[in-house]
Symmetry: D2
Subunit: 336 residues, 4 copies
């Protein structure tokens, strides 16, 4: 950590910082320039209320030099991680496709969709049983009944299953039925839920918060891993910007940035990010080209009648065409 003093900081201001830091058992390195004095700090930062240094007289800025996440950090774990979810694995060398409806609606619907996505090449069935909805008057999901349908449909077609959780109660139910749980964008900084997910024993798909920085996202992953659960997959699903032509702005640059900073697998969701089925195929391909380890795609038997997020769902036909177009792309990028 570096403390940058203001130009012409008084010597007593510099000394005040030095003694504050040293009092907490850390070491300082003083560097006095013509214009500016800089103080380097070395030692265990968890002992230092560092953000408060800014309140000291003549302090201009504090610059951190190390990241706050450790377990998710590639610096300390150079090898990429592969996460196993039921029969499916997510990581280098393969492209894992998670597909299914936004919300589980009926058992027969889910069975029909599961069959279609399996045939097209998906290995994980997705489907929402607990839906976080902006309005309290929108459809909120089938809850445990939906999870049961997921388990049955997954078993019938040899698919692993994933479902979003929004509460401890939902996690407890999910453990009984599905292979992987998902923390949605709205809950990315619901730290209580992150800890509970960490303790669940299930692999966790952690979606990026709607306006989360990459570092906040990795710190959220750290919450899960710190509970002893290293099986975290990150999912880029679009960030909120001023542009309204797409629902969110899919930040594909996050993929190579994450690749440098973390060993965790990274997938992309072209459905929620764009909000339109018409943009899903090009963005799915772009995500693979940017280095994604997998895709999460919404597929529905009848998008025009879906109870949630119909406009962004692919029909069976469109989904099958997409997966067939992805095959040569995967071959090119050394993925299964």
């Amino acid at each position: 950590m570096i403390v940058i003093m203001k130009p012409n900081a008084a010597p007593q201001s510099v000394n005040a910082v030095l003694s504050f830091v040293e009092k907490h058992g850390l070491q300082t390195h003083l560097s006095q320039g013509e214009e500016v004095t800089i103080i380097g700090i070395v030692g265990d930062k968890t002992k230092l209320p560092t953000e408060n240094l800014v309140s000291y007289k003549d302090v201009d800025r504090i610059v951190p030099v190390t990241e706050s996440y450790k377990l998710a950090n590639r610096k300390f774990h150079p090898e990429p991680t592969t996460v196993q979810a039921g029969s499916a694995s997510i990581g280098p060398g393969s492209l894992t496709i998670m597909a299914g409806p936004c919300a589980v609606e009926t058992e027969s619907q889910l069975v029909e969709i599961a069959q279609a996505v399996k045939e097209a090449g998906a290995t994980i069935l997705r489907g929402g049983a607990y839906k976080p909805r902006t309005s309290p008057y929108s459809f909120q999901g089938l809850e445990e009944e939906g999870l049961r349908y997921m388990k049955e449909a997954g078993k019938a077609f040899g698919l692993a299953t994933i479902c979003e959780v929004v509460s401890q109660e939902a996690i407890e139910a999910a453990v009984k039925y599905v292979d992987m749980i998902q923390i949605g964008a709205r809950n990315m900084q619901n730290f209580i839920l992150l800890k509970e997910a960490g303790r669940s024993g299930l692999p966790v798909l952690l979606k990026r918060g709607l306006c989360a920085t990459i570092d906040e996202w990795l710190n959220a992953a750290e919450y899960i891993i710190a509970e002893g659960n290293p099986n975290v997959v990150l999912c880029e699903r679009g960030i909120r910007t001023y542009e309204t032509s797409t629902r969110n702005t899919l930040d594909l640059s996050a993929i190579p940035v994450l690749r440098e900073r973390t060993h965790l697998p990274i997938i992309a969701d072209p459905s929620h990010s764009t909000g339109s089925y018409r943009y899903v195929p090009p963005m799915a391909k772009a995500a693979v080209a940017a280095g994604a380890d997998g895709l999460m795609v919404e597929v529905h038997n009848n998008p025009a009648c879906a109870l949630s997020d119909g406009p962004q769902s692919l029909t069976f036909k469109k989904f099958a065409r997409l997966t067939s177009e992805l095959k040569p792309l995967c071959a090119l990028f050394g993925r299964e």
Copy 2:
């Protein structure tokens, strides 16, 4: 709701939309222009999976004409609401000042701060006992012990008390100790927590999410009110933008916008939004001039040693100067 068809939409596409809508028991009004056909829809929209109309052939856009929040909506409740929190009331005609440390640290610290903010004119003591922190390795709060200190300090100085809650467990504890609970920015769309807050019986301060639109925020308030709890206060605390000179961008325009859309009281937090004590006084005054019903301000006995958010805390002296400067401003704006 209005469906706008694409230019030169085929008659059968128009008919498909008409029959889809009418099949769900709603009425349609057709308006055919030279360039564009428009379909107005009248009736109970909760019966219609309206967002899916976008998937219909030749449909260009759907334009909603009514808001999804009802109980929070000024259209249906023209009179402004006053919320009572213990001995303090928040609403028209007064300026309620909530002040205290970001995090409760020790009993003696809290007592010292409570006395100082009371003397300077605050009526509600704020203090965090459950801290949502970006990194799992940062200080997370004293939890129930902190709530107990809050109760005692409030009682000692005749202050109402408010504390952030992050889980059902925290709500259950809060009910025993404090007069009002706060839902923080990171949990604004934690719908489970919103519902639990609604059922708690306590008045709720609902902070705006870091990148929440005003309508999403009002829908979050709707979740609380829909549980039978009308005592919701909104708190503007800055939104995330590209500008990094302040921690967030305090969106004071939200105050007059909210005033039109809702009957709920609105306060502002100049401490968390700017992230620097130097900007707190001007932004506190600006918030009052923009029409705020109250302010939430961080005050600390020793900002340079605070365990959380020191740089943005006011000293006792600076806080007393601020409240004395606010007095003539309040008089000018017809507040208490």
Copy 3:
């Protein structure tokens, strides 16, 4: 255009809008719902100060139903356009690579770079002679001397040439030396410059403004085309968001969105958008997968010594590896 009245608008308010519109020679279609009255407007909108309708009593919102750009609009020109720039063509069926230094520094440097990018497969040489720089104390470009070097280097290696222009004077010089001009992000809404570019007779690469919406961008293109110059190529180069891990956020979803709305060719700039040479290869590939007609890539003989934007420049070796990796990808996407 549609006027949405507020719920329970007074009949005289509705009549005021009707007569205002009809007075300007346009037709109205009234649609009265249970909750809301809607007025459709048909006719020549250029005769109507439509935005002012919002000031009318009981008017809630105005919803446009047609875009303000016509010449750039795919609705009226369904066939994709191919733009010819000297010996190079940009459009469907090929992937045009523009490469070169951010700023032209010396003649020998440019010759060396031109040879390298030609050998690696670029067909257009890029190089800045007029540099818009945030600080007035940064290097501002070689101006006409730089253009002369561009012409010579292009001729020597059979490359077309492109250079950014920032003023009428620069356009006048550019006409003498280069095959295509570029309007940079900061000048995307410098309408005087857009018109002059339109009158220059040269094809124009129009970069997206740093926070321009897709529709503002297409309107900027319309300014150029309206001067009789249909040879406009759009370049996505990243938008400004809250995320700081990359210099800007490359909005690749803009490519399929633009594909629907316009017939103009679209390229992407992975260098300026990410700000780091390490992210250029994955984002270049992602742009091709998303449907880009070309790429603009910064290449430098010695990035560590570049006078401008060194950190994002590729070395010759890295650029040659990128173009060789792009070849099978192009084959897959049916590009040259």
Copy 4:
């Protein structure tokens, strides 16, 4: 400037940076921590292509410690500047109100408005004669004829005058007719225009770019001052964010931030930022409370018929009420 090396950077990487810097005639200060090595750089940074250091092996980040603007910087000019525009002065101790129509439409209209704003207390008449419009098909202004009307109306009522300029030609015309020129948001980084404005001899109102950071804005001011023209006034007019309830988000925190960084006067524009006359009065008051030296407000004799930006214009009556409400507020804040 500080160079932060990656953890465990090789000694030869550190040496490469040291020798690169020293070769350019600057001094280095080495600080080796347990985890990280830091190199402080002292001397004339204009001699160093500093951004390229990032390309060096094992370099993690470059942290600037001084701002690139000097003439606009409060560090070197602690006293606040007062700018004189004709008979009006803008700076500490007064609140300067600039008012008038968005666009000059006819001579009689302008005379009528000038009289009304003078009576209500404005000292500067604003009016657009050159309008930068998103669509080429929108009204673009009366140009020199409009300037002539401005001069006459200003003279008739003893008002100073200000007009936006968009080109060198417009500046040349403006010099003949008005007292102050305005650079609009879209041209804030049109560096050619900034330089020409600097050479015009007229005081310049520099609006903040739609997504400009505060530092980019101050660098734009530096372009003008560096041409020998110190008479620059900054105008906060809203930034682009994801929130669409207001046209832009008025960033009032920018006022206290600017106050620290620059000696230049700062005003706010509540009309363009909010886009609605209903929000102008509260935001005007909030701007004064935040410390603004002045306001720019749109006023129109008949907002519903305005050729440009009608919905945000105040009527004469509403404007007079606003200025009368501002008076006691000004008294409170020590402004004339």
